[in-house]
Every structure is written in structure tokens, then in C-alpha cells.
């Protein structure tokens, strides 16, 4: 039955010089669901992501991925185990073109990434797949533009394409829609829903209507602690949540 959960944390805790940013968080992410992590600014959402993907060392606790203890695994190896994260601040390779950005993710499995004597034209065999990924997120027309020159929304879309290139089982998206216009938000939400079919997604998002729409389960964090957990219909009625975090905006949506 533990197999139902792809990611599980036990007493996940992070202290920064005495300040507890994440405190005894027990998170269980069900396979093939969209799980949202919400909470006010500074609640510890990004820190949770950093811990789960091992970008930060834990102060305490354990993390399981597919039942396997990854508490002491290096961050690069986590990606190879099928869990890939995105970043709150858009993370593209600014001097590489959109196509090259996606190709960087694709090329690892060619096994030539250490080949410094080989021409990079050997990567052209990945172009079709890369173009398809760019098209999926609607930025194919910017194929040859350096990613640093794209608008914010397109950078985020490119980032998702790059993440999907690895075909991860588990995606961690940190505010994938922050800074996007309404149209981009709608398209990205659709994209997330589409890719979630055979994947699991854990995402941080401030846009509550998106969260309500997409997520199967929501975990509310406050000051590093889990305040509530459940489907949106429950969460939005929880008086503690309403008071502590969402205020008036919540109940009205559902």
C-alpha cells in the first residue's frame, strides 16, 4: 500500500541558524495525482522543494521516493531517479536558444555529454523531439531565439518543456504560472493537466483558482508547519485556513 505514494516525507525539518523554516512536515504525494502546496509567503514551500530534491541538506527527517530512501542522495542523482523540479525564479539557460535548452535535457541519455571532441551537430538527431516539446508548450516559433530574450511567460513555458524532456515520473513545479498573463495561465494549466495523466505533480501555486481547478489534494503550510490537508472543497471550508491564509477569497470560489 505504500506504493500508492510516490513521495513521502517523514518529519521533514529544516533549520536556518535556529530559525525553523520547515518543521516536521509529513507529506504524502499519491501517484498520478496533482498535489498542491500552498501557504502565505515565507511558509516554507520552496524550502520543502529544496529539501525533497536535496538542493538543501535536511536538518532532520527522511524522504522516500518510490519507497526508496533518498535522504542522502545527491541532487543530480535525484533527477536520474525520475524526479525533476522547476524553480520559483524562471530557470532557463539564457545564452542557449530555446531549442538548445530542451536539447540539454534530452542529450544526457545519448551518453555523449562528456564527448568534448565531437561536434555538436551530433545533437541534431534530438531536434525533432525537442521541437515537438517546444510545440507542446507553444513556443516553437522561438526555437532559435536565445532563451534569455524570451518574455517571462515564455521562459516559464520553455522551462516546463525542458523539464518534460526528461520524461520524469514526478514533477515539482514551483509557482509555474507566476508572472504569466491570463492566456498563458490557462494554457499552462491545460498543459499541466495534460502531462499529469501518467505522472505525478507536486506544485506550489498562489493562483487559487488554478489550484482549485487542477489539484486533487492540497496541503496548506504556515510557518513551516502543515496547517491542513485535503481536497479543495474541504480546505476552503477550514476556518483555520480561511483565517490564517486565504481570508475572504477562498470560500467564494468553490
Amino acid at each position: 500500500m505504500a506504493d500508492d505514494y510516490i513521495v513521502e516525507t517523514k518529519n521533514l525539518t529544516k533549520e536556518f541558524k535556529g530559525f525553523v523554516a520547515v518543521s516536521d512536515v509529513n507529506l504524502k504525494v499519491k501517484r498520478h495525482t496533482i498535489h498542491a502546496l500552498i501557504g502565505p509567503n515565507g511558509a516554507g514551500k520552496t524550502t520543502c522543494f529544496n529539501l525533497i530534491t536535496k538542493f538543501l541538506p535536511l536538518s532532520r527527517g527522511t524522504i522516500l521516493l518510490n519507497g526508496r530512501d533518498i535522504t542522502n542522495t545527491a541532487p543530480a542523482d535525484i533527477a536520474q531517479l525520475g524526479m525533476v523540479r522547476s524553480f520559483q525564479i524562471s530557470a532557463v539557460f539564457g545564452h542557449l536558444t530555446a531549442l538548445e535548452n530542451v536539447r540539454v535535457a534530452l542529450q544526457r541519455k545519448l551518453g555523449t555529454s562528456f564527448h568534448f571532441w565531437k561536434s555538436d551537430t551530433s545533437l541534431a538527431e534530438l531536434n525533432d523531439r525537442a521541437e515537438q516539446l517546444l510545440e507542446d508548450v507553444g513556443v516553437l516559433e522561438y526555437r532559435d531565439i536565445p532563451a534569455g530574450e524570451l518574455s517571462y511567460g515564455r521562459k516559464r513555458a520553455l522551462e516546463i518543456a525542458t523539464t518534460l524532456a526528461l520524461e520524469p515520473e514526478m514533477l515539482l513545479l514551483d509557482e509555474p504560472m507566476a508572472g504569466m498573463g491570463t492566456e498563458d495561465v490557462a494554457r499552462t494549466a491545460e498543459l499541466i493537466r495534460r502531462v499529469s495523466k501518467d505522472r505525478t505533480i507536486l506544485m506550489v501555486e498562489h493562483n487559487l483558482s488554478v489550484v482549485a481547478d487542477l489539484s486533487d489534494t492540497i496541503t496548506v503550510l504556515k510557518l513551516g508547519k502543515v496547517l491542513a490537508e485535503g481536497p479543495y472543497s474541504e480546505i476552503s471550508q477550514n476556518p483555520e485556513v480561511i483565517e490564517a491564509y486565504m481570508g475572504h477569497g477562498v470560500g467564494s470560489h468553490a
Binding site: 538542493f55 533527477a79 530557470a91 539557460f93 545564452h95 542557449l96 555529454s113 564527448h115 571532441w117 516559433e141
Partner: protein, 325 residues
């Protein structure tokens, strides 16, 4: 809305490649006839520093690592090649290869110690290790302290071509330089180079995609050290001298200066920067220590006026014409 616009990207390549070939051809031709117009020893000095700067640029321009200790590879390879040629009577190509391999070995150790650190800490560690190696050079008997290894024989290339002939020596240096620059170009434009650039642009993202970035950085560091060594080795044959000047931190600073002036992260920028600095040093040599000040002033002006360096500024202009500089 998406697919049809892709075709526009297919216009460039063929035209671009041939223009690039013409551009490189012209540069090669200039290099081949230059010794008939300009004092060859000056040219060779420039080529040695150009190679040194190009090797350094691999780290700064394509991995984003600022080493402040590259003189240790440059200077120590000079000693090794000089010693090998003078005391052991090795032919120049073997002596240069030996210097290169030793620099690669040193690069492996220094790189392993330094690359886990970021930014200024990386620079500090490379500087500290370079200082250590400077004092070893000062104390070790075979380097002959302040005198250096003098009267290094240039020898016969492959045991046949007499390098004491200045033109022969020039073409040897030019050949080494051209090969090394092509090699660096290949490294930068390889699957490996793609990962390097990704790491430079956004290291955490590269990690999150599953790249063990330290390994890539270490390999780049070793390549950079090795070719810096090649440059130092060749220089010791050109001037028939290996001395403390080349292991001194001044040399580490100069190579930073050359790279920034010429254009960091460009193929030909380090060469342009090296010739600029060497020219300043030569033509203003009579001014003594004022050279340093003139260098400093030029550096400040360049940084203020065109941050991207000489080639960096020309680059967009050339790129429009299908030329990658």
C-alpha cells in the same frame, strides 16, 4: 500558430559555414604572412599569450569560473619543457607535450580542490595554490631561482626541422596555436560544451536536469590547465628561457586582463586581447613601471566603453554576416 515559422531558421547554415570558412581562411593567411611584415619574436610572444588566454577563456567564458592562478600551469610547464629540452635533450615536440601533460596533471589536482567552491572562493583557492607553486619554483634547485633556466635549446622539430631558424620557429608556434584554438573551438561546440554553457548559465538548473556539474567543471579545468601549459612550454622555447615571471601572480592577472579586453566567451577575443596587451608592453616598455598604469587606464576605459571586449563588440556585426567570432 507554430510550425510554419520554423522554416525561416533554415536559411542561414550553408551560407554561414562558407563565410565562416572564408573568415578563418583570411585569419590563417594573415598568420602565415605576418612574419614577413612584423618582427617574428613579437608575433610569437603574442601567440603564446593568445593561446594562454584562449585556454583561460574556456573556464571564464564557458563555465563561468574565474581562476586567479593560471600562471602556475603556464609557468611550470615552461620550466618542465625547458628542463626537458636542456638537460635531457628531448626534441621540442616531446618537451612541449611533456609540459602539457604535467599541466594537465596539476590541473586535475588543483581543479579537484577548487571546483567545489563558488565565485570568489574559487578564485582565492586557485590564487593560494598558485602562490604555493610560485614558492616551490623559487626554492626548487632545478628552476635556478632568480636566474631561471637559461639558454634552452630550441632543438630540431621531430629531430629534423631546425627551430633555431626564426621562421621555422614561428611556423611551429603558429601551428600549435592554430591546432589548439581549433581544439578549443571543438570543445566549446561539442555535446560537452553544451553542458558547460548550461552550467555557466544556470548551475542549479543543470543539476536539476541530472548533470553532475562538478565532473564537467573538472574536465574543463583540466583542458584549460593543459593548454595553458602548452602555451608556457612553447614560450620557453621561443625565448629559450623559463623564469619566475611566468609563474608569478602578475601572469595570472595578465591573462584575466587579456581575456576581458578581447572579449570573454568569444573564440578570437583572447587573441585580440593578448596582442593588445603585448603591444602595449612592447611599445611603452621605455616608460618602465608606467606600463602598468597605462594598462590599467586602458582596461578601465575598455570596461567602461565596451564591456563585451573588442571581439565581443564586433560579434553581433559579424554574426549578421554568418560569421562566428
Amino acid at each position: 500558430m507554430t510550425t510554419n515559422s520554423v522554416t525561416s531558421s533554415a536559411t542561414g547554415p550553408n551560407k554561414g559555414v562558407s563565410r565562416q570558412a572564408i573568415f578563418v581562411g583570411i585569419l590563417l593567411a594573415v598568420g602565415l604572412i605576418a612574419p614577413f611584415a612584423v618582427y617574428p619574436v613579437f608575433l610569437m610572444k603574442g601567440l603564446c599569450f593568445a593561446l594562454f588566454a584562449a585556454a583561460f577563456n574556456l573556464l571564464l567564458g564557458y563555465v563561468g569560473l574565474l581562476s586567479f592562478g593560471h600562471a602556475m600551469f603556464f609557468g611550470w610547464s615552461a620550466y618542465i619543457t625547458a628542463h626537458a629540452a636542456k638537460e635531457w635533450g628531448l626534441t621540442p615536440e616531446i618537451a612541449v607535450l611533456l609540459g602539457t601533460f604535467c599541466a594537465a596533471g596539476m590541473g586535475a589536482v588543483v581543479g579537484w580542490l577548487a571546483i567545489r567552491r563558488q565565485g570568489i572562493y574559487f578564485a582565492m583557492i586557485t590564487l593560494a595554490l598558485a602562490q604555493l607553486m610560485y614558492f616551490v619554483a623559487l626554492q626548487a634547485p632545478f628552476t635556478h631561482g632568480e636566474d631561471g633556466i637559461q639558454g634552452v635549446p630550441r632543438g630540431h622539430l621531430f629531430g629534423v626541422i631546425d627551430l633555431s631558424d626564426t621562421l621555422n620557429m614561428y611556423y611551429f608556434v603558429f601551428g600549435v596555436f592554430a591546432l589548439a584554438l581549433f581544439f578549443l573551438y571543438r570543445v566549446v561546440n561539442s555535446p560537452f560544451g553544451q553542458v558547460l554553457k548550461a552550467i555557466r548559465d544556470n548551475e542549479p538548473r543543470a543539476i536539476s536536469l541530472g548533470y553532475q556539474v562538478d565532473r564537467y567543471k573538472l574536465i574543463a579545468f583540466i583542458i584549460s590547465a593543459a593548454l595553458s601549459g602548452t602555451a608556457g612550454s612553447v614560450k620557453s622555447l621561443v625565448f629559450q628561457l623559463a623564469s619566475l615571471t611566468d609563474v608569478h601572480w602578475h601572469a595570472s592577472g595578465e591573462v584575466v586582463l587579456m581575456t576581458l579586453l578581447g572579449g570573454v566567451g568569444t573564440i578570437f577575443g583572447p587573441t585580440a586581447g593578448a596582442y593588445l596587451v603585448v603591444t602595449i608592453q612592447n611599445y611603452f616598455a621605455t616608460l618602465g613601471s608606467w606600463v602598468t598604469i597605462i594598462q590599467g587606464v586602458i582596461f578601465v576605459i575598455c570596461v567602461l566603453a565596451f564591456r563585451a571586449g573588442i571581439v565581443g563588440v564586433l560579434r553581433p556585426f559579424l554574426k549578421k554576416r554568418g560569421i562566428e567570432a
